[in-house]
């Protein structure tokens, strides 16, 4: 049964597209604009609170080029009318082998736009010695 996409799904998809487009095709200095002032990023277990800290972290990642490929993305509307997103994909940095990654976003409506309030990123590898 073909369904019209829900509005929250359309908003989520356009956010994901814009986020990785900016991530891959700019020097990541503008990515901070997608976050709210008090947003929080957890990057591989390290916490970066606030838009400035997030911008700084993303801009300072040590590589020349990066390319994300999205395998799947899932969206849910939340009870407070935010949008909850999970992205599952692969990324390739410079000449390194591709790596899987998972990223979760929370989007909140701040008319006239939507901003990201929460972002959690992990590589999908399992070689941390236990």
């Amino acid at each position: 049964m073909a369904c019209e996409k829900e509005i929250w799904q359309k908003i989520g998809e356009s956010f994901v597209q814009e986020y990785y487009n900016q991530f891959d095709n700019t020097n990541r200095t503008t990515l901070g604009n997608l976050y709210s002032a008090d947003a929080c990023l957890t990057w591989e277990g390290s916490v970066f609170p606030g838009k400035e800290a997030i911008s700084g972290k993303l801009a300072s990642l040590p590589f020349k080029s990066i390319k994300h490929i999205i395998t799947e993305q899932d969206f849910q509307p939340t009870i407070d009318s935010s949008i909850f997103i999970m992205v599952f994909g692969q990324l390739k940095v410079d000449d390194d082998p591709p790596m899987a990654f998972h990223q979760v976003f929370m989007l909140k409506s701040m008319p006239p736009t939507w901003v990201c309030t929460n972002d959690v990123f992990r590589l999908g590898i399992h070689n941390i010695p236990s």
């Binding site: 990057w43 591989e44 277990g45 390290s46 990642l61 040590p62 590589f63 692969q90 940095v93 410079d94 000449d95 390194d96 082998p97 591709p98 790596m99 899987a100 990123f121 590589l123 590898i125 399992h126 070689n127 941390i128 010695p129």
Partner: protein, 220 residues
């Protein structure tokens, strides 16, 4: 491959800047192949190989062969996303430190990798073999052999010029690292410095090695 029929389980970690050829080096060692296309990293990122180690007695004769199960861990570029801290270093017994002979910066960073090792490895002077990789690309060479030898001597570590592309010196480099580790184990009367879980001893002939495993981790 992971059946328990071995005397020792030894973990190696390949380190060095991104792009120096760590993954290709390990691939060449375990599969005797050079993969010019990258394989997708899925799941657990280590490679395994079984070898038989024969120690040399003082009289020159070889001792009983010992079955070694080697795990070769690869960072696969994850160091760009997260710092490789204690969790990553602590379980490795030996380190292959690679740089790219065609990339001077990767050689300059060898000092940084060595200080990381001194901080995070199980002891301050772990066994390390330095590998100048991509020696097949001689026309693009950017690092002189004598300056590498000087640095390796300063750290007291062996140096090999290797090629993950054609296999040159890949096996000798790993063999020397294994030899250093086995000699270190033989040298240690009190084996309590061996990091937990890095050496698994099977069989009654080596029961002496497992004494003291419940003592403090590092006596170095």
């Amino acid at each position: 491959m992971s059946d328990g029929d071995y005397d020792y389980l030894i973990k190696f970690l390949a380190l060095g800047d991104s792009g120096v050829g760590k993954t290709s080096f390990l691939y060449q060692y375990t599969d005797t192949k050079f993969n010019s296309k990258f394989i997708t990293t899925v799941g657990i990122d280590f490679r395994e190989k079984r070898v038989v180690y024969k120690s040399t007695n003082p009289d020159g004769s070889s001792g009983r062969g010992q079955k070694i199960h080697m795990q070769l861990w690869d960072t696969a570029g994850q160091e760009r996303f997260r710092s490789l801290t204690t969790a990553f270093f602590r379980d490795a017994m030996g380190f292959l430190l690679l740089f790219d002979l065609t990339n001077e910066q990767s050689f300059l960073n060898v000092r940084n990798w060595m200080s990381q090792l001194q901080i995070h490895a199980y002891c301050e002077s772990p066994d390390v073999v330095l590998c100048g990789n991509k020696c097949d690309l001689s026309d693009q060479r950017a690092v002189r052999e004598d300056e590498v030898r000087e640095l390796a001597e300063k750290y007291g570590i062996p140096y090999f010029e290797t090629s993950a592309a054609n296999g040159q010196n890949v096996n000798p480099a790993v063999d020397v690292l294994l030899d250093l580790i086995m000699k270190r184990m033989e040298r240690c009367v009190d084996k309590s410095w061996i990091p937990d879980g890095t050496v698994r001893v099977n069989g009654p002939t080596n029961a002496d090695l497992s004494e003291g495993s419940d003592r403090s981790k590092c006596a170095c």
